[in-house]
């Protein structure tokens, strides 16, 4: 893509800003910040990747993946920032999901052990798992209000924290996985995913692009399940005090 073509893409931003002004949505500042941030962040990562692909040093791959996990953990943790220690649990969850998934992909020789494959696929795994974490935490926050009576009733009968919160966790894990599973059902019919589209635009054979997309869809399903399971297991105690009382409900944001 030429520099001129890249500059022309700003007309799409202008459309969004125009609608915002016309409809008095008050989003112009947000659109401007979003535009600048996405451009700077993408250009920055472009140059970083250019450098890393050139060196092929595993240390840089590790740094990039760690950075992705930390940013994702920080972002997903904002959904339940009043829960002390949640960001650490999310980071551990993302690291486990990334480690297991990448281990299988590399161990079975499904993708080549080069930064060109490892980094983009890791980004997809961590990004999708971050969304799963956010959905899980959002649902858990709702459960703490709607299922409070049930949880306290079980506590009053001498249940452990895990027994008391089990049904809420199960509902939350389910809710966090449903969008990924629904996405699997409609992919190719409703939307053409970014990775596949990108490969086709870059000149790859559509069949080859589809094969990679199938891989990504299956990886997303397994990483969603892994993320939801791990995070629910290592974080459920955070919803209780040390003496096994439910944390108080926070006022709505």
């Amino acid at each position: 893509m030429s520099n001129m073509a890249l500059i022309c893409t700003l007309c799409f931003v202008a459309v969004a800003a125009f609608i915002s002004m016309k409809q008095k949505l008050g989003l112009e500042k947000e659109i401007l910040i979003g535009t600048l941030r996405s451009a700077v962040q993408l250009l920055f990562i472009g140059y970083v990747l250019h450098f890393v692909f050139g060196t092929s040093n595993p240390f840089f791959i590790l740094i990039i993946i760690t950075g992705m996990i930390l940013v994702a953990a920080w972002n997903a943790g904002a959904k339940a920032k009043h829960i002390s220690g949640i960001r650490l649990r999310i980071a551990i969850t993302l690291a486990c999901t990334e480690g297991v998934t990448m281990g299988i992909l590399l161990g079975l020789g499904i993708i080549a052990p080069t930064p060109q494959y490892i980094i983009p696929v890791s980004g997809i795994i961590i990004g999708s798992s971050m969304i799963v974490c956010g959905l899980l935490l959002n649902r858990m926050k709702r459960e703490m209000e709607t299922a409070r009576g049930e949880i306290e009733m079980l506590l009053a009968l001498g249940a452990t924290e895990k027994q008391a919160i089990h049904s809420s966790l199960r509902r939350s894990v389910r809710a966090s996985m449903i969008p990924t599973i629904d996405g699997m059902k409609t992919v190719g019919l409703v939307q053409l995913p970014g990775m596949m589209t990108g490969m086709i635009v870059a000149g790859a054979d559509p069949i080859e692009a589809v094969r990679y997309q199938i891989l990504i869809m299956f990886v997303l399903a397994s990483s969603a399940a892994m993320t939801a399971m791990i995070l629910s297991l290592i974080s459920y105690k955070l919803w209780f005090t040390k003496d096994a009382r439910l944390l108080p409900v926070l006022p709505a944001d």
Binding site: E150, M153, L154, A156, L157, T160, S167, D243, P248
Partner: protein, 250 residues
Amino acid sequence: MSLLQLNKVSKYKFDEEKEWLFRDITADISPEDHIVLIGGSGQGKSTLLRIIARLERLDDGGICLEGKASKEWKPQSWRKKVSYVAQKPVMLTGSIKNNLRTVSLLHDRPFEEELARRYMEAVGLGQLDWGKNAVDLSGGEQQRLALIRSLMLNPDILLLDEITSSLDPGSKHAVEQLLLEWVSEASSPKAYLWITHDVEQARAISNQVWFMAEGCLLEKGETTAFFEHPNTKQAKQFMSGLQTEVVKHP
């Protein structure tokens, strides 16, 4: 020896504001105590019960069970001995039997079906099909089922929060009889602390009264003495209020 001691138990109104809901509640619960906890709305009666059940934090003071401070107990072991039954019953999804089996599933105990059947009959639910969905029961049936679910735990102390508020007079009487027998006929020491706003019920089910007002446990004493000769102006006013209500709604 008492089963449970409250020592200057105090609670703030809100966690943020340093205003007391109640202060310095000191009292004992002994075996075979049938205690009613009465007082106007907003005095913190339910909060006190939830604190004793360790479902809510106390802000000052302490509680001992069997002579051991609450901190020395695992919360689960404590709650197996001191169990709270809420006013609003919560049914678990699934059948009535599933709800009756809750305690046996939680604590890996055999399900005492005969005992459950006896309790169900005692509170007028003997005719219910146990395969029926528990959430389809009426409010009063749910209230009785929730009580029996807690009785299956066989705690030493039951904390009962207006557990007959949705019951007709016959069912209310049946529940009262069951709980009176539960305390007096058990092989191990039992007691209950029961919140009620029903003065007739309070007289019928208790041998002791705790009266909360002015942010403290203003009176505690033997039931007949309390109802015939309350010591404080607040208790007299509270009683006259109740009597007016009884006249209005006989």
